[in-house]
Symmetry: C2
């Protein structure tokens, strides 16, 4: 079947493109490090063309984009949609990029404008659109782990509120730049969700209600006093940070409901383990599939999946 459109998840540090048919089946895929920083130097249009050419896309295949490309520092600002918001408000808010010789649209992010809890997301709202059936009715808590994890409250298909935890960024900073770098080694080992170091530390953070302020330095002290190895130190750091995030997020509304976990790969397994340690029931969805499904929903709404293009 011929491509109906190209779907792009364009983040700060990564660029992912899929050629999809009108049912959402993947015909081709590209992943690269051409995120915002690199694209700003080369030019967004040029980066996009290069990747479209590399998958031999037709010159008139339309493109729908989500992520930081729609930020003020990105290609073209797609103004935030304010919460509470229906998923359709997001899909309806795409902004056309002019002068591309084909249809190119960028989806908006979400903004929470509450004076005491301002927050923003760009990219995760499209994953939410992709898992819409999971929270179409009832009250739900969605966990989307990453560099900047998002926790979302949704009820009856409406996104009510959300919060961001910079957990992934903290792990990277602490393991490469802080005193803890001496403990975790030059290339920190990936934590295993089954390891005792991860599970014990995650449970400790949960028991402390997320108060890991003095537990972080204990990782360093354990290396000095207790001959802790580097892999255990890295797993402990991961367990403490993920446990603290979950402990904090479980104070949010709807925290007693099953958590919809939208994640991929190793990180998803760590969060699943952490959520289960916290006593949460977990429904898992794959983040890659979710973002493609969200971009497909946007393409459908734009009328690109009726075989009229590509």
């Amino acid at each position: 079947m011929s491509p109906a459109f190209a779907a792009v998840d364009w983040g700060t540090s990564s660029f992912r493109l899929w050629l999809l048919d009108s049912t959402g089946a993947v015909l081709a895929e590209r992943r690269s490090g051409d995120g915002l920083a690199k694209a700003a130097a080369e030019g967004f249009a040029s980066v996009l063309s290069r990747h479209l050419d590399s998958v031999r896309s037709a010159s008139d295949t339309p493109v729908v984009i989500c992520g930081m490309a729609g930020s003020r520092q990105g290609w073209l600002e797609a103004p935030y949609v304010a919460v509470p918001a229906r998923l359709d408000d997001i899909l309806a808010g795409s902004v056309p990029v002019p002068g591309q010789g084909r249809e190119v649209r960028i989806l908006p992010g979400l903004a929470q404008r509450a004076a005491d809890a301002p927050d923003v997301m760009r990219g995760e709202e499209t994953q939410l659109a992709g898992v819409a059936p999971l929270f179409a009715s009832g009250s739900h808590l969605v966990c989307m782990p990453g560099t900047h994890s998002k926790w979302v409250e949704a009820s009856d298909g409406v996104i009510d509120s959300f919060a961001t935890y910079i957990t992934g960024e903290l792990f990277a900073l602490l393991s490469t730049h802080s005193i803890l770098r001496h403990s975790v080694g030059e290339i920190p080992a990936a934590a295993s969700p089954d390891s005792s170091a991860f599970r014990t530390s995650c449970a400790e953070a949960l028991a402390l209600g997320g108060d890991i302020g003095s537990a972080l330095f204990r990782i360093r002290a354990s290396s000095l006093l207790q001959e802790q190895d580097e892999s255990a130190a890295a797993s402990r750091l991961s367990g403490l940070l993920i446990g603290a995030e979950i402990a904090s997020a479980r104070r949010r509304p709807a925290a007693d409901r099953p958590v919809i976990l939208v994640a991929s790969g190793a990180l998803g397994l760590l969060y699943r383990a952490g959520l289960e340690l916290a006593g949460s029931a977990v429904l898992s969805a794959d983040a890659d599939e979710a973002v493609r499904a969200g971009l497909l929903a946007a393409a459908k709404r734009l009328g690109w999946t009726r075989g009229t293009t590509g």
Copy 2:
């Protein structure tokens, strides 16, 4: 009066030397960035000689040193004294550095070997010795803010336990390397303890019981959505981190007692403001004077203040 000895506080990134008479009066002072990293390259003996020469010290003036110079990565390891410990255990544990043509002694640090709460300090124990009269009897909580803040429980002159918070390091990492660097500006403004941004954020962190997980990213979101200026963003980061540290530390034993705050300059004022917001009574001591007083106590114990040398 002639110098009785030289006192040195030798940390990871700083080197401070005082020539003191037998009463502890300062006859000369040197401050430099010749901390562990630089001293390891030049040689510890050479750095020390250079600074002693620059204050025209006599060649036989004895030297007492505290801080990271006594760590395994330092000049000569001065093995940790384990808590619970009397201050005299620390002063009695100094290790002679051989072959210096004069007496050179390094004071030990403290180790907490409890399996579930390992911790270490090097340098702050000497400040504690310097403020010993403040906690000679009764139960006390001592706060020593810094890159790695130490909170110490002491009763009747015995150091019972302590905990480390890497608050200063977190502030530096978050303001220079994280997403928040876009909000606080290239050189973050120093927070004022009277500013509304600092006080509101510190109070928020205290009210949250230290759970600032999602409050950190709100600093970024406020820049995007609420036109927050860079100085306010930096003050908020400072307020959140200090408030979270105090909220956590107030869960420790003796937290209902007046807090002995051992600090200098601007940081001391911020912690005093935070402690007062938390409802703690505060007794302040100057950290520079404390470390000199601790080194003087060590020199006295070594018999260097009887006019026999210098």
